[in-house]
C-alpha cells in the first residue's frame, strides 16, 4: 500500500489514505484492536514517563493534526505558507505526522526530511510518530477535544523520523540510509530560527546526568570560544542542499582544505547519487566518492561557509587558520546558487587584507 505521503500528495485523498495507513499501522504494530486507545509508548496525555512538555506536545500534535486533516493543500511542492512553516516549527515531532499531508518536495528545495538515525537518536520521535500517527488515525474519528493551537513550549527541531517513509515496504522505524527526495522546509526554517530545546524521551539514551553535564561543558567550551579557536574539537555544522540531515565536523581534525574536502565528499557522497544503498558495498562507495569529486570539481556543488559576520563565503579563499577561526558553519551548495558569493568573498578578503 502506498504510504500516506504519496497518497496525499496534491490530490487530497484525505481520509481514504488515512484509513489505509491506519490498517497498515495496525498490522505493523500488531495492536489488539480492542486496545487501540492505549498508547503504550507512553506518549498519550496520560503517560507519566515523559515530561509534561512532551505530553503537552502529543496533545498539541493531535490537535494540530486534526486541523491538518481537514485542510487540503494542493500547492506546488515547496510552496508552503508561512503559517504552515510556523506550525511545523511549533509542532513537535509530529512533523512526521504532518508529513502525509505535505506534498512532495523536491530535493533542491532545502534540506530533505530523511529517515535518519541521526535525527532520531535520543529522540522520541521515532516512536511518537508511530504511535501518534496511529493514534491520530484513530482519533481522526473525532474523539478529540478542542483543536486549540496551543503553542508548544520549546520549539522542537522538526527533523523527524518519518515512519511511513518513501519506502513502502519498510515496516517499523525505517532507518534506512537510502532516502527519497522528499523534503520540507523544516531545516531551512530551523536554520533561521534559534534552535530550541528538542523533544527527547525522558531518560533516553540512558546516560547518567552527571556524564551528560561533563560532556556539555566540554563541548560548550570547545564550540563557543569566540573567535579564537581553543584546543580540542571544533565542531561546525555542515549542511548540504538536498541532504536529509546535517552533519557536524570537527574542523580541528583537519589541517588543510584538501582534507576537509575529501572528508566531506565521503560524508555526503550518498546524497548526491540519490539512493544511497547499503553502506557495506565498498565498490559502490568509491564510485560515489569519485563521482562526487567530479561533481564537486565540476561546478555542480561548491563548499561555502558562514563566517562570524554572518556572511556566506566560498571556502578556500583565506588561509586555513583564518578559516578555522571564523567559520561558523559549512554548506554545500549547488554551484548555481553560489555564483553570487564569489565577488563578495573576494571583496571581503580584500578589505581584510
Amino acid at each position: 500500500m502506498t504510504p500516506p505521503l504519496l497518497g496525499v500528495e496534491g490530490d487530497g485523498q484525505g481520509n481514504v489514505s488515512l484509513m489505509t495507513s491506519a490498517s497498515t499501522m495496525e498490522s505493523i504494530f500488531q495492536k489488539n484492536p480492542g486496545l487501540t486507545e492505549r498508547n503504550y509508548m507512553g506518549l498519550s496525555d496520560c503517560s507519566s514517563v515523559d515530561s509534561s512538555v512532551v505530553s503537552g506536545i502529543s496533545e498539541v500534535k493531535r490537535n494540530n493534526l486534526n486541523l491538518r486533516a481537514t485542510e487540503l493543500r494542493l500547492g506546488l511542492p515547496g510552496s508552503q505558507s508561512p503559517e504552515r512553516d510556523a506550525d511545523v516549527d511549533n509542532a513537535s515531532s509530529e512533523s512526521l505526522d504532518e508529513k502525509p499531508l505535505f506534498p512532495l518536495l523536491p530535493s533542491k528545495d532545502g534540506i530533505c526530511l530523511g529517515s535518519q538515525k541521526t535525527f532520531v537518536s535520543g529522540n522520541k520521535r521515532g516512536f511518537s510518530d508511530t504511535i501518534d500517527e496511529g493514534k491520530w488515525m484513530f482519533s481522526s474519528s473525532g474523539t478529540d477535544s478542542d483543536a486549540s493551537k496551543t503553542s508548544v513550549q520549546g520549539k522542537i527541531s522538526a527533523v523527524a523520523q518519518p515512519n511511513m517513509t518513501k519506502d513502502a515496504t519498510s515496516k517499523m522505524m525505517p532507518q534506512e540510509q537510502s532516502h527519497g527526495t522528499f523534503g520540507t522546509n523544516l531545516n531551512k526554517v530551523n536554520a533561521s530560527n534559534p534552535p530550541a530545546s528538542k523533544a527527547q524521551v525522558v531518560g533516553w539514551p540512558p546516560v547518567r546526568s552527571f556524564r551528560k553535564n561533563i560532556l556539555a561543558t566540554n563541548s560548550k567550551a570547545n564550540d563557543e570560544v569566540d573567535g579564537k579557536p581553543g584546543p580540542g574539537a571544533l565542531f561546525v555544522k555542515v549542511s548540504m542542499d538536498g541532504a536529509p540531515y546535517l552533519r557536524k565536523v570537527d574542523l580541528r581534525s583537519y589541517t588543510a582544505y584538501q582534507q576537509l574536502s575529501s572528508a566531506l565528499e565521503k560524508m555526503f557522497s550518498c546524497f548526491t547519487i540519490g539512493q544511497c544503498g547499503s553502506q557495506g558495498a565498498p565498490g559502490r562507495e568509491s564510485l560515489s566518492e569519485s563521482k562526487l569529486r567530479d561533481l564537486l570539481h565540476g561546478s555542480e556543488y561548491v563548499l561555502t561557509y558562514e563566517d562570524k559576520d554572518g556572511d556566506w563565503m566560498l571556502v578556500g579563499d583565506v588561509p586555513w587558520d583564518m578559516f578555522i577561526g571564523s567559520c561558523k558553519r559549512l554548506k554545500i551548495m549547488k554551484g548555481s546558487d553560489a555564483i553570487g558569493l564569489a565577488p563578495r568573498a573576494m571583496e571581503k578578503s580584500k578589505t581584510r587584507n
Partner: protein, 602 residues
C-alpha cells in the same frame, strides 16, 4: 557444607548429618554453649568468618539454626540491595557485630530522571538505628540513597571509629556535609564521592581535614566542581603515607598534579585533573617524568581536556595499567591509537565515542587482554552529529579481544550479523549492554528487527548475567532470552516487544532473574501477573510507560502480600486507571512508612 536437611524448627532434633554425636537442644540460641565434642560454636564462627561472599553467607545461614546463628554473629559486612526490602531494626537484630554496611536505594532508572525527587531511600533512619546497634561501625557504602548534610554530620559525630564513606549516585547533600566528615572522622581511611547530585558550595571541605589525620588511603573527589585549596590538598597527600587511591577534580592543574605525585609514589589508582595547560609555564618535557615514579599505578582516570600534546606524558605509566578511563577525554582515533600502543596490559577500558571505529580498531589490535569495554556517547542528544561508533568498531574489538566479558556500547547503528559475529568471537560475555540510541531502530542494512542479534548473544554466551537490549525488537527477542539466558540476573528493556508474550517468556524462562527493569513496552496486566510466583525470588521489578493498569497492580498486591507493589502517579494524573510507574519488590519490612504522596502502595 555437608548438611542435607536445613531445619529451622527449634523443637526438632537434627538428623545426624553432621559430625555431631549429641543432638542439639536447638531451643537454646546461645552461641556460647559448647558441644561436648564436635564443633564449638566459636569454631564454627571462626570458619564461617572466612566466607566473604554474601550469597554464600545467605546459603550458610539457611542450613540449620546453629549455622544461622554462627553466621549472623560472624557477619561483618552487610549488603542490602534494596533498602526497603528490610528495616534497619531487623538488620540490627539479626546481625549484632556489623562493621560495614552497603545500602542501595532508588531503582536504577532514577539515574535517568525517571524517579521523582523525594521518592525516598533516606539513609537517616538507618543511621539512627545503627548509632545504637553498631556504634563501632566502620564503613558505609551508599548507592542511590538520599543523604542530607544532617545525616553526614550525624554519621561523623556518632560513630567514633568510622573509617570509610563511599557515596555513589546519591543526592540531597552538599559540601557542608563533607566538611563534617572531614572534621570529625579522626580515623578516616576512605572518602569516595562519586557522581552525586550534590550541592557544591565550595571546596573548603577539604581544608577541614585536621593536621592530625594521616590515615587516608582513598580520596576521590573527581566529580566535585569547586576548587579545593591546593595547599591543603598537598599537605594532606604528603602526610597520608598509605594513600593508594587519589582522584582529584578538574580544577587541579597539571603542574599541581605533578607536585602531588611526588608525595605519593605508592599510588595505585590516580584520577588526574585537567590534562592540559593554557599557559605553558615550562616546556612539556617538564611533565615527562611525572609518571615515571609511579610504579604501582594500575588505574588511571580523569584526563579531562587531554590533547595530543600532553597525553604522551602518561606513556611511562601505561605498561602496567589495567584500567584506563578515558571517558572524559574527547580523544580522536589517532590519539587513542598512539596511547594504546603503550597499554598492553589493559583489562578495562572506558572511552568516548569520539574515537570512532578507527579508534576501536586500535583497541582490538593493542589490548588482547581486554575484559571490559565501555564506550560512552560524547553527544547523545545532538541528533546532528553523525559521529561516534558503529557496528564495525565493535566487531574490530571482538576480533582482537576474545576475553571480553563486559561491554557497554552506545551507538547509532547496528546489524544482526555484526552482533552474531561479536558473540562468536567473545563467548565469555557476562555483561552485554548494547544501546542503539535511536529507540526502535532496526538493523540498518536489512531493516529487520534486532531480534537475532540478542538471540545470538544469549545462545552463544551461556554465562550471561546482565543484558540490556535496544533497537527494534519483537517478542522473538524475549523468547530467545527466556529460552537461552539461563544465568541471566539483570535485564533492562526499553521500547521493545510486541505483546505480553514477550515479558511472559522472560519471566517463565529466566530462572535466575533478579532484576527486571522495563520502560515503554507494550506489556500489560497479563504479563505483570504472569510473574506472580516469580517476584518473591527477585529483588525488584520496574515497569514504566507500559500497559499496566491499577487493577492489575491491585491484583498482584492482593495475591502477594509479601511484595510491595508501588505505583507512582504522574503529576498530571489524568487517567487513574493507568499505572504509569510500577515498582515491585519483595520485603520483610512491610509497606513503606515513608512513602511520599505520589507513591501508592497497593
Amino acid at each position: 557444607m555437608m548438611l542435607l536437611q536445613p531445619s529451622m524448627d527449634p523443637n526438632r532434633k537434627r538428623a545426624k548429618s553432621v559430625d555431631r554425636v549429641d543432638s542439639v537442644d536447638s531451643g537454646s540460641e546461645s552461641f556460647e554453649s559448647t558441644r561436648k565434642c564436635g564443633f564449638p560454636d566459636e569454631v564454627l564462627e571462626r570458619v564461617l568468618s572466612l566466607i566473604d561472599s554474601h550469597k554464600d553467607r545467605s546459603s550458610v545461614s539457611l542450613v540449620c539454626k546453629d549455622w544461622y546463628n554462627a553466621e549472623r554473629w560472624s557477619r561483618r559486612d552487610v549488603f542490602i540491595g534494596n533498602c526497603y526490602s528490610v528495616s534497619p531494626e531487623i538488620v540490627a537484630a539479626r546481625f549484632p557485630r556489623v562493621r560495614s554496611v552497603t545500602l542501595k536505594g532508588k531503582p536504577r532508572f532514577s539515574d535517568f530522571n525517571l524517579v521523582p525527587e523525594d521518592w525516598g531511600a533516606d539513609v537517616h533512619p538507618w543511621l539512627s538505628v545503627f548509632s545504637t546497634a553498631y556504634p563501632f561501625l566502620e564503613e558505609l557504602r551508599l548507592k542511590r540513597m538520599a543523604v542530607t548534610d544532617e545525616s553526614l554530620e550525624f554519621l561523623a559525630t556518632n560513630f567514633h571509629g568510622f573509617k570509610a564513606l563511599s557515596l555513589l549516585s546519591c543526592d540531597g547533600f552538599s559540601t557542608d556535609g563533607l566538611k563534617a566528615i572531614a572534621t570529625h572522622c579522626k580515623n578516616l581511611t576512605e572518602l569516595d564521592i562519586q557522581e552525586n547530585g550534590i550541592d557544591d558550595l565550595g571546596g573548603h571541605w577539604l581544608s577541614c581535614f585536621p593536621e592530625s589525620l594521616t590515615s587516608l588511603e582513598v580520596l576521590n573527589f573527581a566529580s566535585l566542581n569547586s576548587e579545593v585549596s591546593f595547599d591543603a590538598l598537598e599537605k594532606l597527600v604528603s602526610r597520608c603515607k598509605s594513600l593508594r587511591v587519589l582522584k582529584v577534580n578538574r580544577n587541579v592543574s597539571l603542574d599541581q598534579l605533578q607536585k602531588l605525585l611526588l608525595h605519593c609514589p605508592l599510588l595505585m589508582e590516580l584520577g588526574t585533573g585537567t590534562f592540559m595547560q593554557e599557559l605553558i609555564s615550562g616546556p612539556v618535557t617538564e611533565f615527562k617524568t611525572m609518571f615515571s615514579n609511579c610504579k604501582n599505578l594500575v588505574t588511571l582516570s580523569g584526563l579531562w581536556d587531554a590533547t595530543p600534546l600532553y597525553l604522551p606524558v602518561i606513556y611511562p605509566a601505561c605498561a602496567s595499567l589495567t584500567f584506563l578511563n578515558l571517558s572524559y577525554a574527547t580523544l580522536r582515533s589517532d590519539e587513542l591509537a598512539n596511547l594504546l600502543a603503550h597499554c598492553k596490559s589493559l583489562r578495562r577500558l572506558w572511552l568516548l565515542d569520539t574515537v570512532g571505529d578507527k579508534g576501536l580498531e586500535a583497541v582490538g589490535s593493542c589490548c588482547p587482554l581486554l575484559e571490559e569495554l565501555r564506550v560512552f556517547p560524547a553527544d547523545p542528544f545532538d541528533q546532528e552529529i553523525f559521529l561516534g561508533v558503529t557496528e564495525s568498531g565493535f566487531v574490530s574489538v571482538s576480533h582482537g579481544c576474545p576475553k571480553l566479558r563486559y561491554v557497554l556500547y552506545f551507538c547509532r547503528q547496528m546489524t544482526n550479523a555484526a552482533v552474531a559475529t561479536i558473540a562468536r568471537n567473545c563467548p565469555d560475555f557476562t555483561h552485554f549492554r548494547l544501546c542503539i540510541m535511536n529507540p526502535g531502530q532496526p538493523d540498518y542494512l536489512t531493516k529487520e528487527p534486532m531480534d537475532d542479534a540478542f538471540g545470538s548473544v544469549v545462545k552463544t554466551c551461556t554465562k550471561l548475567q546482565r543484558l540490556a537490549i535496544s533497537g527494534l525488537l519483537t517478542d522473538r527477542t524475549f523468547e530467545y532470552i527466556g529460552k537461552y539466558a539461563k544465568n541471566l540476573e539483570t535485564l533492562s528493556v526499553a521500547f521493545a516487544g510486541s505483546s505480553d508474550l514477550g515479558m511472559e517468556s522472560v519471566l517463565k524462562g529466566c530462572m535466575k532473574l533478579r532484576k527486571l527493569e522495563i520502560r515503554d513496552c507494550p506489556f500489560g496486566n497479563a504479563a505483570l501477573l504472569s510473574g506472580l510466583t516469580k517476584y518473591e525470588s527477585m529483588r525488584s521489578l520496574w515497569m514504566s510507560a507500559c500497559n499496566v493498569t491499577m487493577n492489575g497492580c491491585r491484583a498482584l498486591a492482593k495475591e502477594k502480600p509479601r511484595l510491595n507493589v508501588e505505583v507512582m502517579r504522574d503529576e498530571e494524573g489524568s487517567d487513574d486507571s493507568q499505572a504509569h510507574k510500577v515498582y515491585v519488590y519483595r520485603s520483610v519490612a512491610g509497606p513503606r512508612r515513608d512513602a511520599p504522596p505520589f507513591v501508592l502502595t497497593l
